[in-house]
């Protein structure tokens, strides 16, 4: 278990967090504290409850039991205050692609009550960073998936959030952009920002995260740095993952799958 850094209050705090949709419970009694400057890798199989946690933390879902705070703000009592503190980039998020990046980002800035001048200055700088400055006035419906993802990332960073929630932020990005995003993530953490990183790409999570949380079926099954997890469970994060989330009989299942082709072999 990780020791909390001294003299710092947790920036994200989950206390006995449980959540049900109707009769199905999706989160069971989750207790977690995260501190400024951490990059948290939040991983788990499909349907483990990752997005639900993020939605609750982003102030989008007040229907849960237990407590969740961001920078001391209760997400249930003051969701707007929380939204002001955080940046949220959902996975494969839609954007209004008939707008240009400049128009889209101006709108985002206004929704965060930034002045237009600040928004413009920041968004042009960030677009330049991602090599999109020549596309600033092109409609995004002509953009590739990676270009859209870059605009989404910018939209999450524009208001300089204290906490950043990223859901598969690298999807569609080319190798260079991946390196750039990773660099930005570690710089943000160095500045004392907290980055909450959800992904299925274990190799990336392994590298960027200071701390890895593995959840399965709504429960935290592992929590620690990559090295700590490695000592307990196995060589790579992938192995840790499959060991803890229980696809032990993979061999058997793959064999069954290959059986489907038997009619061809005869």
């Amino acid at each position: 278990m990780q020791e909390p850094p001294p003299f710092k209050a947790p920036v994200i705090s989950l206390n006995r967090l449980s959540k049900s949709y109707g009769k199905t419970q999706v989160l069971f009694d989750i207790n977690l504290d995260f501190y400024p400057g951490q990059v948290i890798g939040y991983i788990g199989p499909n349907g483990a409850g990752k997005s639900t946690t993020v939605r609750i933390l982003a102030g989008l879902d007040g229907e849960f039991s237990g407590e969740a705070t961001i920078c001391g703000i209760d997400v249930r009592k003051d969701p707007l205050g929380v939204k002001q503190m955080i940046g949220y980039v959902p996975e494969m998020a839609e954007l209004y692609d008939v707008l240009t990046p400049r128009e889209f980002l101006t709108m985002i800035g206004r929704l965060h009550n930034l002045s237009d001048a600040v928004t413009l200055e920041r968004s042009l700088r960030m677009l330049r960073f991602f090599g999109l400055e020549t596309n600033a006035d092109d409609r995004m419906d002509t953009f590739s998936k990676g270009m859209r993802q870059k605009v989404l990332l910018i939209s999450g960073l524009l208001h300089n959030p204290q906490v950043l929630f990223l859901d598969e932020p690298l999807s569609g990005l080319d190798a260079n952009s991946v390196i750039m995003v990773k660099e930005i993530i570690s710089r943000l953490a160095a500045q004392g920002k907290t980055v909450f990183y959800c992904s299925h790409m274990m190799d990336v999570v392994e590298k960027v995260s200071d701390r890895i949380i593995l959840i399965d079926k709504g429960r935290v099954v592992a929590d620690g740095t990559f090295n700590e997890l490695k000592q307990q469970e196995g060589e790579s994060l992938e192995q840790v993952f499959s060991k803890l989330t229980g696809k032990q009989d993979l061999d058997q299942m793959a064999g069954d799958f290959m059986e489907s082709f038997r009619s061809d072999e005869q």
């Binding site: 989008l60 008939v98 707008l99 240009t100 128009e103 985002i108 206004r110 009550n113 002045s115 006035d137």
Partner: protein
């Protein structure tokens, strides 16, 4: 219907084999396509307010009725050749506009590129399935339209009449297909693919308005006795009209006309379509299909940035307007978003703009209804108080974008309203409302005001002012009663009929308030309306404040 077409395809099996088409694959493709087509129709059917898809049952039915209307031309005209000319004129106009608005979707199904192309299907099979699809599509439009006229021809002229008529119909279709190829190529030469798509959208709007106008106006225009005695074909100028060539073919084949002009036109009528189709197949189709493909693949336009570079925030019409009418940054965000989306989203335009086209048509319908010559009607309209009708009818049109603004095909992108720290939902709603009013209500109202002032005189000025305030108040109330986030629901939800209540409310409100206004016009001097308008600005202001103060629920 699917079975019927599959049967036809099976009948042609030897032909397919000879052409190198794989029959089993063709059958599989056609079955899937036709199945999709029926599903598409069913969804259209439920949603009568959005008949933009040309291949819907609604369009078939419209074509049947308009075909009946066009038949009236043949019946009414003393001279069958002239009647046919007018008939084919109507047919070709409707047919081409429908084709233009539909063609890309029927011709190129983008999904082909992802689903069919990676499979081991040869080019000929794909081409054949496309061709069959087009043929089935054309037949679907032609048959309902020509059915009334065909029956009439059979009764009046017997088998020879029917055969000639079908022949003419075929020629007309070839001409239209050729013409559209030329139009498409023309547009594509000067416009980028993205722009092209927008232009197709305008054709769809035109089609909707034309069908509406067809319902209301054609029957009225056709009982002019004087026109029907005219023989178009005697006028030399009619030679430039392709439908007149078809009329002449009838003259030559059925009436035995043998003068040079008739023969010349009949020759054109046969040669041009055949030559045209040969040209299309031989030369145009290749480049055309390549370009269409580019359109459906959403190739980046080479025309450069869509808008001018703006380095300073707050220049330009929209920015100035939004800064002037909006109170908060969030309101501005919703204003600009709504403004830009309504300007650029083809979907929105196609669904909303037609309702503005209906106003003049409807007004014209009301106006030319009744007895007397056109001049007498004109005088009567001018001396009456029809301008109130004109002004208040605008609200029926404006309520469409007011209600539709909550829908978008990009509704999923509205997640960012929820994740942003916007204090009140009302700010977003008010911003969107102001943009809709600024974009759809104010400009149209100004046009109508100018028309009213110039046609009915300056004495209408106070009434125009009062109508403006009244309509704005009703619009705010409509929005206030259905406080949904802009662009945040899928269009499918529009079908669920939540608007019925809004529509009824709008109609009642227009009736009641317009009625009061009418009483003011009848019984009080103009200054009363002026005072009323000034006084009512106050509630309008407070209603707007209430609107932007709406809380999240």
């Amino acid at each position: 219907m699917i079975r019927f077409w599959l049967f036809i395809i099976r009948l042609l099996k030897p032909l397919w084999k000879r052409l190198g088409v794989n029959y089993d694959q063709l059958k599989a493709l056609m079955e899937a396509r036709l199945l999709m087509e029926t599903r598409r129709r069913k969804t259209w059917q439920q949603n009568k307010s959005s008949n933009s898809g040309g291949s819907s049952w609604l369009i078939y039915l419209s074509f049947f009725f308009i075909g009946g209307g066009a038949l009236a031309a043949i019946i009414q005209f003393d001279h069958v050749g002239s009647g046919l000319t007018l008939y084919f004129l109507i047919w070709m106009v409707f047919f081409s506009v429908t084709l233009i608005s539909d063609f890309t979707e029927v011709l190129i199904d983008v999904r082909d590129n992802y689903i069919v192309l990676p499979r081991p299907v040869n080019d000929r099979t794909i081409s054949a399935s496309r061709l069959m699809h087009i043929v089935i599509y054309l037949a679907g439009l032609t048959v309902p339209f020509m059915l009334p006229a065909l029956i009439y021809m059979a009764v009046m002229f017997g088998i020879s009449g029917v055969l000639i008529f079908i022949f003419l119909q075929l020629l007309s279709e070839l001409m239209v297909v050729f013409g559209i190829n030329l139009i498409y190529l023309g547009i594509l030469r000067f416009a980028s693919p993205a722009r092209f798509r927008d232009m197709i959208g305008y054709f769809q709007i035109a089609l909707t308005v034309m069908i509406f106008a067809g319902y209301y106006l054609t029957p009225r225009l056709l009982d002019w006795d004087r026109v029907t005695a005219v023989n178009f074909l005697e006028k030399p100028l009619s030679t430039i009209l392709p439908p007149a060539w078809l009329g002449s073919i009838w003259e030559v084949l059925h009436e035995g006309a043998a003068d040079t002009v008739s023969l010349f036109r009949a020759g054109l009528g046969i040669l041009v379509p055949l030559l045209g189709i040969w040209l299309v197949v031989r030369f145009l189709a290749g480049g055309f299909n390549r370009k269409l493909m580019a359109i459906s693949m959403g190739v980046k336009s080479d025309a450069g940035p869509v808008i001018r570079k703006r380095n300073q925030p707050g220049s330009g019409y929209m920015d100035r307007l939004s800064r002037w009418v909006c109170r908060s940054q969030a309101e501005k965000a919703a204003f600009d978003l709504t403004w830009l989306m309504t300007a650029r989203s083809r979907d929105f335009k196609v669904k909303v703009y037609p309702s503005f086209g209906f106003i003049p048509v409807f007004f014209l319908y009301m106006a030319i209804q009744g007895k007397g010559t056109l001049a007498e009607r004109f005088m009567e309209i001018r001396s009456g108080n029809y301008f109130l009708l004109l002004l208040y009818m605008l609200l029926l049109a404006v309520s469409t974008p007011l209600v539709s603004i909550r829908f978008s095909d990009k509704y999923k992108a509205s997640w960012l309203f929820i994740t942003s720290p916007v204090a009140r939902k009302g700010e977003l709603i008010a911003g969107a409302f102001k943009a809709v009013m600024g974009r759809f209500f104010v400009p149209f109202f100004l046009v109508f005001a100018v028309i009213t002032l110039s046609f009915w005189g300056v004495k209408t000025a106070p009434h125009i002012l009062l109508a403006f305030v009244n309509l704005s108040i009703i619009s705010v109330i409509i929005t206030y009663l259905t406080p949904d986030l802009p662009l945040a629901a899928p269009w499918e939800e529009a079908k669920k009929g939540g608007q019925v209540a809004t529509n009824i409310l709008t109609t009642v409100a227009v009736g009641v308030i317009g009625g009061f206004h009418y009483l003011l016009v009848l019984f009080t001097p103009g200054w009363v309306s002026f005072v009323a308008a000034v006084v009512l600005i106050l509630p309008l202001y407070f209603l707007l404040k209430r609107l932007s103060a709406l809380k999240w629920t």
